[in-house]
């Protein structure tokens, strides 16, 4: 069976780290590279965290460092969620994996250019790197199969009442990506808040017993503290949803809609304005993910982690 060629652009980040582990464990994917962006933490930290997690799990791949700040704005980070390191919780050793000497944008352009098959991009952080790729190499658009991103929300944000973190950090980049004409799947809070892991399931993961499983459980122990205030039953696994969709699209229900990105609002900057009822009669530029089979999603996570035995 042919593996789908993907590049994961991320800002680890607890849920980014878990998304990486799920992606590399999957027989459905061929992860060509991991590129990093500033978001959950500064670029030095997210880059180092990617190297740490991949090294710890024994994964060998291309890892490139990307943008240190959004296209036009100052960087916002999320230490409240991910801690000072961006990956607080487990104590991980110094990475052994050597990074690429090319930056994230160069790496993405090179891989997409040289690939015979179209590439799927999976951004799980702010869209700065992806927007820069599209600005600097617009001819590549036809060689990108689809962009499956974690970000945005149809109903309500998390960082502000109107906006989800990844989009509010770099709304201008999101605007470029959403208007690129490339097929786009938006895994926003509407679906990721349904992709929750419960406490007893974290214990299941810990009991798998391998070192990656224990790391994942420790990541979730820390990450869960932030979500207690939302009054959820569990903790939303945002970024793994985007990877899960590429592995098995039957897990997730989507609806094609027109989506605009607010870049100027006083209270709504970074809001992904989803025209669910088609009142604008504009072209549908985004497949908006709305629901997920949570049980199967969690099983996919267990199965992935067991592969690291």
């Amino acid at each position: 069976m042919k593996r789908k060629p993907v590049i994961i652009d991320c800002d680890p980040g607890h849920d980014d780290a878990i998304a990486l582990l799920v992606a590399f464990a999957s027989e459905k994917l061929n992860v060509k590279a991991v590129t990093t962006v500033a978001g959950n933490q500064t670029i030095e930290k997210t880059f180092n965290n990617a190297l740490k997690v991949l090294s710890f799990a024994g994964i060998n791949t291309i890892v490139s460092k990307g943008a240190s700040k959004p296209l036009l704005r100052d960087l916002i980070t999320a230490p409240e969620v991910h801690g000072e390191s961006g990956l607080d919780g487990p104590d991980l050793p110094t990475p052994t994996l050597k990074p690429s000497d090319k930056n994230a944008v160069e790496t993405i352009i090179e891989i997409v250019n040289e690939s015979e098959e179209k590439i799927i991009l999976i951004p799980t952080g702010p869209l700065t790197n992806i927007a820069t790729v599209l600005l600097s190499a617009p001819e590549l658009k036809t060689k990108i199969e689809r962009i499956v991103l974690m970000g945005g929300s149809m109903i309500g944000g998390n960082w502000t009442p109107a906006a989800e973190f990844n989009i509010v950090v770099d709304p201008e980049a999101a605007n470029i990506v959403f208007n690129s004409g490339i097929p786009l799947t938006m895994c926003g809070l509407d679906v990721t808040h349904k992709a929750q892991i419960y406490r007893e399931e974290i214990e299941e993961i810990r009991n798998i017993g391998n070192k990656v499983a224990i790391m994942v459980a420790e990541l979730l122990d820390f990450y869960g503290k932030f979500y207690e205030r939302f009054g959820f039953k569990g903790f939303p696994l945002h970024d793994p949803v985007a990877v899960a969709y590429v592995i098995d699209s039957t897990l997730i229900t989507t609806k094609p809609c027109h989506v605009d990105i607010e870049t100027r609002g006083e209270f709504t900057s970074g809001c992904t304005v989803v025209d669910y009822y088609d009142v604008l009669k504009k072209s549908k530029n985004v497949d908006v993910a709305l629901d997920i089979d949570r049980e199967r999603f969690i099983k996919m996570l267990y199965d992935a982690i067991k592969k690291y035995n």
């Binding site: 960082w159 009442p161 109107a162 205030r229 939302f230 605009d260 100027r264 209270f267 709504t268 304005v273």
Partner: protein
């Protein structure tokens, strides 16, 4: 004891139904109706208010307010409410005159007369209420409550981000929402749950009085449209707000911070509701999240029966 209210409205089909409810109930003392431009222009909304009161045999002051939003051009909705604002139903020309004071002076006069007990039910754009607050800042301490039909915690209707009443005059909404007067927001997220089914409308039609005929015949043509959008029936926006004032036990609300977006590119008039308390700002609005539909529809039916069976 009857609750003293002023109904500020832009009739409007659903405004008309709300007014018929107010004229029939024994729970309210309708001190005045004030009119605003919105669903149709001010001349029409004002005349419609007079017609409806006379038609129901209800003697009440009708005072005219703003012909356009505070800073913007007027947007109207004839495509929903018809050229006259009252659909296809023809009411006799009014013989009564408008009250000699304008809406702002009337609202202030009644606030004083009612000794801190006046409740405003705002069913249109908030222009009149905002101008009253600007002209008479001391009224803030003299009002008991403002119940607003407008906004949404979820999706809009006039645009994907905004509900019609707030979209038409976002600056007025901002003034009202920031005024410090206790506010209940009955938005689309809850009025979509206050729907009438085909059976409900048939029953109301069978009452065989003219107000009931108006309710049934104006709403029946909309059943198909809302069925296609997966609604349970036709949402009764203004009647839901009216019902919530008549019987406060109908609504489930949460006290939250709400901002009004006045500057966005694609989010003009969005009510930004801080559901998770991420802004840390002071809660200023009782946001309605649920309504007891059975009780609501029974209240409506009971009031329509009062016009004779």
């Amino acid at each position: 004891m009857k609750k003293p209210v002023i109904i500020d409205c832009d009739p409007g089909i659903d405004d008309a139904i709300a007014l018929f409810m107010a004229f029939a109930t024994e729970k309210l003392d309708v001190r005045a109706i004030t009119t605003v431009a919105g669903n149709v222009n001010l001349e029409k909304t004002s005349k419609n208010a007079l017609k409806l009161a006379e038609y129901a045999g209800y003697s009440v002051k009708v005072a005219r307010g703003a012909s356009k939003p505070i800073t913007r051009e007027l947007v109207t909705a004839e495509f929903i409410h018809g050229e006259s604002g009252l659909g296809n139903m023809v009411f006799p020309e009014p013989t009564e005159r408008f009250y000699h004071k304008n809406a702002y002076d009337t609202i202030y006069e009644e606030a004083i007369n009612c000794e801190n007990k006046l409740h405003i039910i705002a069913l249109g754009p908030l222009t009149n209420i905002a101008i009253t607050l600007l002209k008479y800042p001391d009224i803030k301490k003299k009002l008991n409550h403002i119940t607003v039909m407008g906004g949404s915690t979820e999706l809009g209707n006039h645009t994907p981000a905004a509900e019609f009443n707030i979209y038409v005059d976002p600056e007025a909404a901002k003034i009202v929402f920031e005024s410090g007067v206790p506010i209940t927001m009955v938005g689309l997220n809850v009025t979509s749950k206050a729907y009438a089914t085909e059976e409900d409308l048939k029953e109301i039609l069978s009452y065989n009085n003219k107000p009931s005929e108006f309710v049934a015949k104006s709403l029946m043509p909309l059943l198909d449209f809302f069925e296609k959008l997966d609604f349970g029936g036709v949402p009764l926006h203004d009647p839901a707000a009216m019902a919530a004032v008549i019987d406060e036990s109908l609504l489930k609300t949460k006290l939250l911070h709400v901002d009004i977006e006045t500057r966005g590119d694609v989010t003009r008039g969005k009510t930004v509701v801080d559901v998770y308390g991420v802004t840390g700002k002071r809660p200023n609005v009782n946001v309605a999240f649920n309504i007891d539909r059975e009780k609501f529809i029974n209240l409506l039916k009971g009031l329509m029966k009062k016009y004779g069976i």
